[in-house]
C-alpha cells in the first residue's frame, strides 16, 4: 500500500545520521523531525535564521519573533543560535549543512528538480530552494510519485521551470525509494505491498530495476 505522508517522513528519517545538520523544507520534510532516532544528535537549521530548532511551543508560549522558514511558531533548543540571512546562506552555500530534504513537483532522471513555479498559474517563488539544491551535497526529495491528475512526477525531463540541475541524488515517494544516477532512476526499495509493476507504471523516466527490490524497513 502506498505510504502516507507520515510514513514517507519516517522512511526519510532513516537517512538522517548522527552529527548531521539538516535543513527541512515545507510540507512532508518538516514531518521528518518527528521520526529521527532519539539516540543520535542532529540539529535542524531553518534558513530564516536559526540553528537548533526545537518543537512547536506550548500553547500560549508562541513568540512572533521565533518562527521557522514555513512561518510557523517554533522553539529554540538549548545550544541554539540565531543569525542573519546572509550567514544563514553561508551555512547552506558553504556546504556546512549536511542534508537537505525538500519537496518537488517534478524530478528528472538526470537529477533536475522543479518545485517553484507553474507558468501562468502558480508563482510562489523559490525561497531558499535554489540555494539549497545548488549547494547541498546530499539532497533527498520527498514527494508523491504521481500528481493529483495521476501523472508521473519522475520524468525523463522536467516540463516545469527548473529549481536546480543535476542535483537530486535520492527520492522517497509514497511508492518507492530511488537513487538518481547515470541518467536514470534506480529503484532501491518499494513501499510495503507495492509491486514493482505499480512503480514502473507510475514512473515516466528511465527506471532501472534490480533483480531484487526489498520492501522498505520500518
Amino acid at each position: 500500500m502506498a505510504l502516507n505522508k507520515f510514513q514517507i517522513a519516517q522512511r526519510i528519517a532513516q537517512e538522517v545520521k548522527d552529527g548531521y545538520y539538516v535543513n527541512l523544507g515545507i510540507g512532508i520534510p518538516t514531518l521528518v523531525a518527528n521520526f529521527v532516532r532519539e539516540d543520535i544528535s542532529v540539529e535542524f537549521q531553518s534558513e530564516n535564521g536559526i540553528l537548533g530548532m526545537g518543537p512547536f511551543p506550548w500553547e500560549g508560549e508562541e513568540d512572533a519573533d521565533l518562527i521557522n522558514a514555513g512561518k510557523q511558531t517554533i522553539t529554540a533548543l538549548p545550544g541554539a543560535a540565531f543569525f542573519d540571512s546572509a550567514l544563514s546562506f553561508s551555512m547552506i552555500r558553504g556546504q556546512h549543512v549536511d542534508l537537505t530534504i525538500l519537496g518537488a513537483m517534478e524530478v528528472s532522471q538526470n537529477g533536475d528538480i522543479a518545485n517553484w513555479k507553474i507558468p501562468g498559474k502558480m508563482v510562489k517563488g523559490m525561497g531558499g530552494a535554489m540555494d539549497l539544491v545548488a549547494s547541498a551535497d546530499r539532497i533527498i526529495v520527498a514527494m508523491t510519485h504521481t500528481n493529483k491528475a495521476g501523472d508521473s512526477k519522475l520524468l525523463s525531463a522536467c516540463t516545469l521551470p527548473l529549481t536546480g540541475v543535476g542535483c537530486v541524488k535520492k527520492i522517497v515517494t509514497d511508492l518507492a525509494v530511488l537513487e538518481v544516477r547515470d541518467n536514470a532512476f534506480h529503484l532501491l526499495e518499494r513501499a510495503p505491498g507495492v509491486s514493482v509493476k505499480e512503480i514502473q507504471e507510475a514512473t515516466e523516466g528511465a527506471l532501472i530495476i534490480p533483480d531484487e527490490v526489498p520492501e522498505m524497513l520500518k
Partner: protein
Amino acid sequence: MINKTVNNVTEACAGVESGMTLMLGGFGLCGIPECAIGELQRLGVDQLTCISNNAGVDDFGLGLLLQTRQIKTMIASYVGENAEFERQMLSGELEVHLIPQGTLAQRCQAAQSGIPAFYTPAGYGTEVGQGKEAREFNGKMHLLEHAFQADFSFVKAWKGDTAGNLIFKGTARNFNPNMCGAAKITVAEVEELVPVGQLDPNQIHIPGIFVQRIFHGTDYQKRIEQRTVRTKEHGA
C-alpha cells in the same frame, strides 16, 4: 557619539519619493518595519521598487502598499502568502523579480560591503540564470550577481541606542542586519531605544555607522502567520 535619533516615523521617512527603490527587512511578517510601512502608506508615495524577501499578507506588511498600488516592482524570493500579490502579478499590473533567497541576502550584504558583484551557484541552469554571466569555479558553474542599489533601507531591530547601534531578537533578525548600510539612507525602528553605553559593545549586531536614522517604534502588532503549538495533552 554621533546621534542618529529622529523624533518619529515621519522624520525618519523624510525624503522618500515616488519612484524610489526601497529595501525592507523581515521574513514573512517577522521582524518587518511596521512603523515605516505604515508611514509609507500615509505618504502615498508610489511607483516604488521594493526589495524584501516576502510581500506581506493581504492586509499587513507590504500587502498594505500593494492594496494601495504603491508598488511598481517587487524584488523578493517568496510571495506565496499573498493573494492580491498573485493577482497583480499574473495580471501584469505588478512587475516581479523572484530571486533565490540566499542571493537576495548576499546582494544586500554586497551593497553594504562595497562588493559590486560576486559569484554564486544558486540558480545556474534555471531561468534565474538567463542573461547572466556564468562561470566555472572548482568544477562547478556559478552565476555573476550584483550588489543592489537602493535609496532607502527600512529595518526593524529589538534594541538600539542613540548612536544607531542595533541588536535584533530571535529570528526577527533575518534580512534586517544585511540591509543596514545597503542603501543610501538606512532607517532603523526599534522597540527599545536606549542612551549610549547601555548596550554591551560586544553584543551589538550592527554598529551605528550603518544607520543614518533611528527612532522608537510604537504600536507593534507582530502578527503571527502560522500559529503552531503543542498541546499539553498530545505532548511533544
